[in-house]
């Protein structure tokens, strides 16, 4: 019967290996890929055992990855600028769409900052990685994108920044005298 010890033709007792493994003894090398902690059923003690060195590497890797994510929008900026340049400064449906996209994408991205960084933030240990700098850079780059959009609005003449934009709200003067 399979799995039944008594009816097995070949039987290897590995308990000696388990118990006899002491510090410094290299009598038996674990096969590659074998984790004695897993085998002995105590995962927690195993991770603490070997995390010290790996943790740092993971952190660095995650931080690096986070930086890549943070700088990502910056790479699209030249593309957007090119599209903006192509669409011209005239007020047309196309240029308005492009400008709308230039403005809305960073806004939407900023709103989703937490979600974007969430997978990188959660470390294996359950701790949260501190990605403030990356987030700040990510937001800053997106703000630059917004500013670019605003600049485009301004060169398109769509920002109410001049006196003429407020002319309609200037009340007529009151006349102090009456002539007849």
């Amino acid at each position: 019967m399979p799995g039944d010890k008594s009816s097995s033709k070949v039987y290897a007792d590995l308990t000696s290996l388990m118990g006899g493994r002491t510090k410094g003894s290299k009598a038996a090398v674990d096969p590659s890929g074998f984790d004695s902690a897993v085998a002995s059923g105590s995962l927690a003690s195993a991770s603490t055992a070997h995390s010290k060195a790996d943790d740092e590497g993971d952190k660095a890797l995650r931080a690096k990855k986070a930086w890549e994510v943070a700088i990502g929008p910056g790479k699209t900026l030249p593309m957007q600028a090119f599209m903006a340049w192509m669409s011209g400064t005239g007020v047309s449906i196309f240029s308005i769409l492009i400008t709308g996209m230039i403005l809305m994408t960073p806004v939407r991205t900023i709103m989703g900052t937490q979600q974007t960084f969430a997978p990188l933030e959660r470390m294996a240990t359950g701790k949260k990685l501190d990605l403030t700098m990356q987030k700040a850079a990510f937001v800053a780059i997106n703000i630059a994108g917004i500013l670019f959009g605003v600049y485009r609005l301004s060169i398109m003449g769509l920002l109410p920044t001049t006196t003429s934009d407020w002319l309609a709200f200037i009340p007529a003067k009151h006349y102090a005298e009456y002539s007849a």
């Binding site: 003449g157 001049t162 006196t163 003429s164 934009d165 002319l167 309609a168 200037i170 009340p171 007529a172 003067k173 009151h174 006349y175 102090a176 005298e177 009456y178 002539s179 007849a180």
Partner: protein, 1035 residues
């Protein structure tokens, strides 16, 4: 060469085609002509009428009028057959008719003698005499010779014989200023020139001077004085002409009962004839002393085989008239009474028919009509002989509408007698026997219009409101009942619409109803409408236009079709009040029963101020129909920014000129005076802004303590304090002045430039534009502030010149002043010879005023005071004008978001509307910059073109436009335009296109049908789709 010119032509055609394609079409749709506009052709109040029978047997009436028009009117309908317009300053003095030829003598100093064809109105020939320093003012007469086509005329200081084919007079006889010659009596070989002898120290008695001239040689046969203390045209002297018997002067000396008869050309015999013999009856001496005589026929030469005249005398408190005919037996002259009747205040006129060649006078030729007006009607009687009238008739007429009769004429259409009556107000009506309404009438009063205002009519009230007004005011206060009423009304109008065959959808929409213009059917219109127009329309197209005229008429017309709403004749002590200004002093509020009030200000014959307050909707004169005759004259009338709380009327100010000018306020009550005094500190007025003046003076009223206002009334006025003087330099005279008309509304306080900066507009309601003529040549323009008297801007046009024929025109609107004048290159002074030669023609100059020359620079503060030093920055430019104009105007809309078209009343009878854009002084004179392109500035082109698509008057000839008025409608895009002068023309225009209206081609039926089709589609398709979905779910 040929190829080149062909190429140029093709290129030019291409450019032309491109330009037509690129400009937006602003013209009128053919179906709008005569629908959105109306035109009334007028001639003015006639001063002489002559019935004229043409070769084809038709009759027309020739007229010369106070508006210097020679016209032929159809005797059957009163319509204008033809009219000839004389220069506004060229008074027509004489009208004579011989056969087909009409002779006119016109002008005061420069004299014109013209002969016209009576049937076609074409000029046959004419003669002009240049202005002469020797011209005797008031002199002027003309007559046809007995035989041939030659004409004899007094021109300048000479008597001339003119022949049609000759360019020069056949002969000219200097008259040496011996008299003011006004009458010519022509006989076979001689003519008599009769006038008032020039008074000298040696001979100071007024008398007539007669010069007898040989017609062939033009030499004086004799000259002598006759008829001491007599004058032509007085009621105790007549001149009788007869081909057979010669000419006679008949007169009665003052305080003498003896009549003198003098035969022209004979020093002796001169007859004395006693009254009794003249009238063939015995009279009491006082009756004889007060008797008067007058000539009977308009053109006394026409039917003068047996010359006749009318004598009026009073006996036993009854006024009687007799018609006396002159005839001769051998050498003896005899007088014979042919008709005698009781006339009272009747006007007597002859038929003015030429006797038939057979010599057998038919009764109609010698007929006389007596027209008498009494309360409520006009009655007329035609006498041919004896005491009994041959024809009588009555015409129901209220003298309060057009005034009493001022003249009567008799003419025959075939054998039918027709009586033509003219009233002091300017109505001309043809009456026939057997009818109490006139055969036709012409209302010529509005050719003498002096002022006009628009009155907003209340919007059409719903049936609910009508019902509420009629029965119970509580209905209208309940929203529920109002809502129900509105639904009932909608249902009713829907029912009415379906009954009308679904023809007009939307009722009084933009396309208007298909009524014919008032110019075509003068007869069908009622003389006095039974119900005045009391309701406007939803769009504000139908308003009342209320006119005041110099003939004493105040009349209200509908702006939509020109239908008369009401007419009032204002008179004081028997004479018409010359109306100067009309003002709306109170506007009725919706749902409040206070009527709109109209204040009419005019002058009576003594020059005193007359004020009447009328209900603007009905024309009823308030205060029991009484006019207020104030004990002073006035220089001008102004609206004051004060409302009298008691009567809710806006105050008017009457400025009384004099060394110490005074200000009177109307209503002349204590309440009004107190209200005025509360605001008088900031109210300024000025005197002297009229042609001929040399300086302007500003004043402010001085108010006494309120306690001292006791006893305030119509005879009290405010003293004034002199504020400032604006003196023109020596050698300059004011030729024109213009101020703003009505309150100025501005949508935007500045102009947006291409770089999105703002040039702020300088809108100063106190701005007055003065144009003065320099004796040394040229015109100087001044912009003056009327509160401070400060000069804001001035400019000199070296080559400008102003004359009565080429007037200076100016209009102000918002921050723009537009003026037009005649530029004469000959006036270019020696100093300016180096400059390019100026063109000869009309020049239109536009000046636009800004707060500063730098963009985005504006005076801080919410209040504008003229007393602060603040000079405008003025940008000007000039264009050559398309044609000579007689009036300038600008369109007005509700909020002035729409651009303002500039309106020109042209001398050729067109009303032209040119876009505001063309008159921009900032139009670049070089290649446009990007900013200028962005701003939409057109490149400058020196000439304004007469674009036929922009002629608002389209096919109509609107003669003598003197003023152009504009009023906003409830649609921002659309503006009402009215012009008056001689003719009336009303239309509406949309300077920026009808952006707030559906286009005329928009099909409301299609819209409804499509909507219905969609609804039906939904109803039918819904169940089908549902069934399909259910089937799919089961499958």
């Amino acid at each position: 060469m040929l190829g080149g010119s062909l190429l140029t032509r093709v290129a030019l055609a291409g450019v032309l085609a491109a330009s037509t394609l690129s400009t937006a079409v602003q013209g009128l749709f053919p179906d709008e002509a005569g629908q959105i506009d109306w035109h009334r052709a007028q001639v003015g109040a006639p001063k002489m009428l002559i019935p004229c029978t043409h070769d084809d047997g038709s009759t027309s009436i020739l007229a010369i009028t106070d508006r210097n028009v020679l016209a032929s009117l159809s005797s059957d309908s009163g319509e204008i057959v033809w009219r000839q317009l004389f220069d506004p300053t060229e008074r027509i003095n004489v009208l004579k008719l011989r056969g087909r030829q009409v002779l006119t003598h016109s002008g005061t100093n420069e004299t014109h003698v013209r002969v016209w064809d009576a049937q076609s109105g074409a000029l046959a020939w004419g003669f002009s005499h240049p202005p002469s320093p020797k011209h005797k003012s008031g002199s002027g007469a003309a007559a046809f010779l007995r035989s041939g086509k030659d004409v004899l005329a007094v021109v300048g200081d000479s008597l001339v014989r003119l022949a049609p084919e000759a360019s020069k007079p056949v002969w000219e006889l200097p008259l040496n200023r011996t008299a003011t010659f006004k009458r010519l009596v022509v006989q076979e070989s001689v003519a008599f020139v009769i006038g008032h002898a020039t008074l000298t120290n040696k001979n100071p008695t007024p008398r007539l001077h007669v010069v007898e001239v040989n017609l062939k040689t033009g030499l004086v046969k004799q000259q002598y004085d006759v008829a001491n203390e007599q004058a032509l045209g007085s009621d105790s002297l007549v001149i009788l002409e007869s081909e057979e018997y010669g000419g006679y002067i008949v007169w009665r000396e003052r305080k003498n009962i003896v009549w003198n008869i003098h035969r022209l050309g004979m020093q002796q015999p001169m007859w004395d004839i006693y009254h009794a013999k003249l009238v063939q009856m015995e009279l009491m001496p006082e009756s004889m002393l007060t008797s008067t005589i007058s000539e009977l026929d308009t053109d006394s030469g026409l039917g003068a085989d047996k010359p006749r005249f009318v004598m009026k005398y009073t006996m036993n408190d009854k006024v009687k008239s007799i018609v006396v005919e002159m005839f001769r037996v051998g050498d003896e002259l005899k007088l014979r009474k042919i008709v005698g009747f009781r006339s009272d205040n009747a006007l007597v006129a002859g038929s003015n028919r030429r006797a038939l060649p057979s010599g057998e006078a038919s009764p109609s030729e010698r007929a006389v009509v007596a027209v008498r007006s009494s309360e409520g009607d006009i009655s007329w009687r035609i006498y041919t002989s004896g005491k009994t009238p041959a024809h009588t008739g009555e015409f129901v007429y209220d003298t309060a509408t057009y005034g009493p009769i001022s003249a009567a004429y008799l003419y025959y259409a075939g054998a039918e007698p027709r009586v033509l009556v003219q009233t002091k107000g300017g109505l001309l009506a043809a009456l026939a026997s057997g009818s109490s309404v006139p055969l036709w009438f012409r209302d010529e009063s509005l050719a003498h219009a002096t002022d006009m205002v628009f009155l907003e009519l209340p919007a059409p009230a719903s049936l609910g409101e009508h019902a509420a007004k009629a029965t119970d005011p509580s209905v209208i206060s309940s929203p529920v009942s109002r809502y129900i009423q509105r639904w009932i009304e909608t249902a009713r109008s829907l029912a009415a619409w379906s009954r009308s065959g679904f023809g007009v959808f939307g009722g009084s929409g933009g396309s208007g109803s298909s009524k014919s213009g008032p110019n075509s059917v003068p007869v069908s219109e009622e003389l006095v409408p039974k119900t005045p127009l009391a309701e406007g329309d939803h769009f504000g197209f139908r308003k009342l236009s209320i006119f005041g005229t110099s003939t004493g008429i105040v009349a209200a017309l509908s702006t939509q079709d020109g239908a008369r709403s009401w007419t009032r004749y204002l008179s004081d002590s028997g004479a018409a009040v010359s109306v100067d200004r009309v003002f709306i002093t109170r506007r009725s509020q919706p749902l409040i029963n206070t009527p709109s009030l109209l204040a009419v200000v005019g002058r009576n014959v003594e020059g005193r101020a007359v004020v009447a307050v009328l209900n603007a909707l009905t024309g009823e004169i308030l205060g029991d129909g009484k006019l207020h005759v104030l004990p002073y004259g006035y220089g001008k009338v102004v609206e004051l920014p004060v409302v009298d709380t008691a009567s809710e009327q806006q105050l008017l100010g009457l400025v009384i000129n004099g060394p110490q000018p005074q200000l009177a306020v109307w209503p002349a009550t204590i309440d009004a005076a107190v209200a005025f005094c509360a605001a008088s500190e900031s109210i300024f007025f000025d005197i002297g802004a009229q042609a001929g003046s040399g300086q302007l003076d500003g004043y402010r009223a001085r108010c006494p303590e309120v306690a001292n206002l006791d006893g305030w009334g119509e005879d009290t006025t405010f003293a004034t304090d002199h504020q400032w003087s604006f003196e023109l330099p020596a050698g300059e005279t004011l030729v024109a002045a213009s101020e703003y008309h009505g309150a100025q509304t501005t949508a935007l306080q500045g102009r947006i430039l291409g770089d999105r900066s703002v040039l702020y507009k300088y809108v100063n309601p106190h701005l007055i534009t003065l144009a003065s003529h320099r004796d040394a040549g040229g015109i100087v323009i001044y912009f003056v502030d009327r509160v401070s008297g400060r000069l804001l801007y001035s400019s000199v046009h070296e080559t400008g010149c102003v004359s009565s024929k080429r007037p200076f025109l100016v209009t102000q609107s918002e921050n723009r002043v537009i003026y037009q004048f005649w530029q004469d290159s000959d006036l270019q002074g020696a100093a300016n010879q180096q400059k390019p030669k100026a063109t000869k023609g009309y020049v239109t100059v536009v000046a636009e005023l800004f707060e500063s020359d730098k963009p985005d620079t504006r005076d801080a503060g919410k209040t504008f005071s003229s007393l602060d030093l603040h000079l405008p920055h003025v940008i000007t430019t000039a264009f050559t004008a398309p044609e000579s104009a007689t009036a300038l105007g600008v369109t007005r809309t509700g909020s002035h978001i729409t651009t303002r078209d500039v309106l020109f009343g042209l001398s050729s009878g067109k009303l032209l509307s040119l876009p505001d854009q063309l008159f921009d002084p900032r139009r670049p004179k070089r290649a446009q910059t990007k900013d200028e392109q962005a701003e939409g500035l057109l490149p400058y082109s020196p000439s304004l073109l007469l674009d036929p698509k922009r002629v608002l008057s389209h096919r109509n000839v609107v003669a003598g436009i003197a003023r152009i008025m504009s009023a906003p409608t409830h649609l921002e895009s659309t503006s009402l335009v009215a012009s008056y002068g001689l003719d009336l023309f009303f239309t509406r225009t949309s300077p920026s296109g009808t952006f707030d209206q559906l286009s005329p081609s928009f099909s409301k039926v299609n819209l409804v049908v499509t909507t219905l089709a969609l609804v039906v589609g939904c109803l039918l398709g819904g169940p089908m789709v549902r069934r399909k979905l259910t089937n799919q779910a089961w499958a």
